[in-house]
């Protein structure tokens, strides 16, 4: 698997660490306990295209958001996280 880093070009996925799906931030402090249980323990686990954070730890150290298909490992697009997360 190769990931096209906006700064470094196409690089081996071994240079990156995935920290999982881009998702809503944690529930508000006064949210019901079940909201926290779902947030921590019940992730979406789709077979298909997902938006994930990838950290280019052995490269430019930028955080990226990649759209990747979990059935084929095909990477559809990559963008800088600070733009994509907005």
């Amino acid at each position: 698997m190769r990931i096209h880093c906006p700064f470094c070009g196409e690089r081996d996925s071994d240079e990156f660490v995935s920290t999982g799906l881009v998702r809503a931030s944690r529930p508000a402090a006064d949210a019901p306990i079940q909201a926290f249980v779902d947030h921590v323990h019940f992730p979406d686990n789709p077979a298909g295209e997902v938006r994930e954070y990838w950290h280019h730890v052995h490269g430019c150290r930028q955080w990226l958001i990649a759209v990747r298909d979990t059935r084929t490992h095909l990477i559809v697009s990559v963008e800088l996280a600070r733009r994509g997360a907005a």
């Binding site: 799906l21 249980v37 921590v40 979990t70």
Partner: protein, 416 residues
């Protein structure tokens, strides 16, 4: 047909022309008492124990590919019960006991080989942790021995005991652990279940689960709708997808785990040996190939293949531990999709949907659990509540805080 030495001789002298197909290929009926989703080790074992222990024989196992095409044929064939936490120790020890009697029980040669599982420790702290785990096992009535360097050197002469970074300090040995021929487990359970009247429906993929008023009514499949009073999910890495069809969320992430086998060589490793400073383990198959296992790839995946980075990592660890392996050639590499749970422990439980049962979250360790998983799941389905052995493996433990986190890694599916 019962397999025996006599049957073998009779068929040998009649040109092996009279062997019968091992199981039937029935058409799906319109309705079953119980449908098991997933024709792998756990699903087939569940169907077998439903019929044998509870007399429930109006059962179908639906499988999207062929029987045993998933993780039961993609693991590294290891069995053991060397766990620290009581829920795991009791459950896996029951599994090991069932392995010990399995071949006579199902009249099938699964090549159960109790050759021992040796975990290597590479630091003083790790040796202490192993001593603690060994003591926990012995208190629970499980065999465990803490070995020193000299015993390990005699037992595994090819080991590099004095690696500069990770010298071997000690080892925790479970002599009753070992390996089993994994395909034969699927075939043996399938045959034994079929003989008791279970319908094995291959190439029958579940594409929907019909639920009305909180009650399951059956499954939509590629071979049409099949009604059922009870539906039991044993779909491993695809559990999230099937559960979602019933509107159920599960605490799982699917990850790909690879395994490897080398060319065949003369017997050089008698045990299963695990590296304590990384994630690598090795055993030698009866054909002579060295079977290597390693870490998951680290990102969510439903593809049954992994990346080269893990191949390199596993090989590096292999050579760090056994320098002589550097001259081996590798024959094959493959991947399976693991249902990684959020605390590293499995779930065998009823669900909030009436008639729907859940068996998942096996992480790296599904194969060794096969008999006890099937046994406990069959009990749970038949009685409508968990057995004492799987009373800790509940779905609600993530909300109640009673997680069973053997590694203490927290809610990070890719760290268990």
């Amino acid at each position: 047909m019962t397999y025996s030495a006599f049957a073998l001789l009779r068929n040998a002298f009649s040109g092996n022309r009279h062997w019968k197909p091992v199981w039937r290929e029935p058409e799906p009926k319109a309705f079953y008492d119980t449908i098991v989703v997933g024709g792998g080790g756990h699903g087939l074992a569940t169907a077998y124990y439903l019929a044998k222990e509870h007399g429930i024989t109006d059962v179908a196992v639906v499988e999207k590919g062929y029987l045993g095409s998933g993780n039961v044929g993609r693991n590294t064939t290891i069995i053991r019960s060397n766990y620290l936490l009581p829920d795991n120790t009791r459950f896996y020890e029951r599994s090991l006991q069932l392995w010990e009697g399995l071949e006579q029980d199902i009249n099938y040669n699964a090549m159960v080989s109790q050759r021992g599982v040796l975990n290597l420790a590479h630091s003083d702290g790790q040796r202490d942790a192993y001593a603690r785990r060994g003591n926990a096992m012995r208190i629970a009535g499980v065999d465990a021995e803490l070995l020193g360097r000299d015993e390990i050197r005699r037992m595994v002469p090819l080991l590099d005991m004095d690696n500069a970074r990770f010298p071997v300090k000690a080892g925790l040995l479970q002599r009753r652990g070992g390996t089993v021929r994994h395909d034969a487990v699927a075939w043996g359970y399938a045959r034994a279940a079929d003989q008791r009247g279970v319908d094995l429906l291959q190439n029958c993929e579940v594409i929907g689960v019909r639920v009305e008023n909180g009650r399951v009514l059956g499954v939509e499949t590629t071979r049409g709708f099949i009604g059922a009073r009870r539906v039991a999910l044993a779909a491993a890495g695809n559990t999230s997808r099937v559960a979602a069809m019933a509107g159920l969320r599960v605490p799982l992430e699917s990850h790909v785990l690879q395994a490897f086998v080398s060319e065949g060589v003369k017997p050089i490793i008698d045990q299963v040996v695990t590296f304590g400073a990384g994630h690598f383990y090795v055993s030698q198959s009866d054909k002579g190939g060295l079977v290597f296992g390693g870490d998951i790839d680290g990102y969510a995946s439903y593809a049954q293949r992994g990346s080269l980075a893990v191949v390199e990592d596993v090989m590096e660890e292999a050579i760090a531990l056994f320098p002589s392996f550097s001259r081996l050639r590798f024959l094959r590499q493959w991947g399976g999709v693991m249902d990684m749970s959020m605390d590293g422990s499995p779930i065998i439980d009823v669900t909030p949907i009436s008639g729907l049962f859940l068996n998942c979250g096996w992480c790296y360790g599904g194969f060794k659990a096969t008999p006890a998983s099937g046994w406990c799941f069959a009990w749970t389905i038949a009685k409508g509540e968990p057995h004492a052995l799987n009373a800790g493996f509940r779905l609600d433990r993530f909300a109640t805080g009673r997680v069973i986190d053997e590694k203490g890694a927290g809610a990070q599916a890719n760290l268990h």
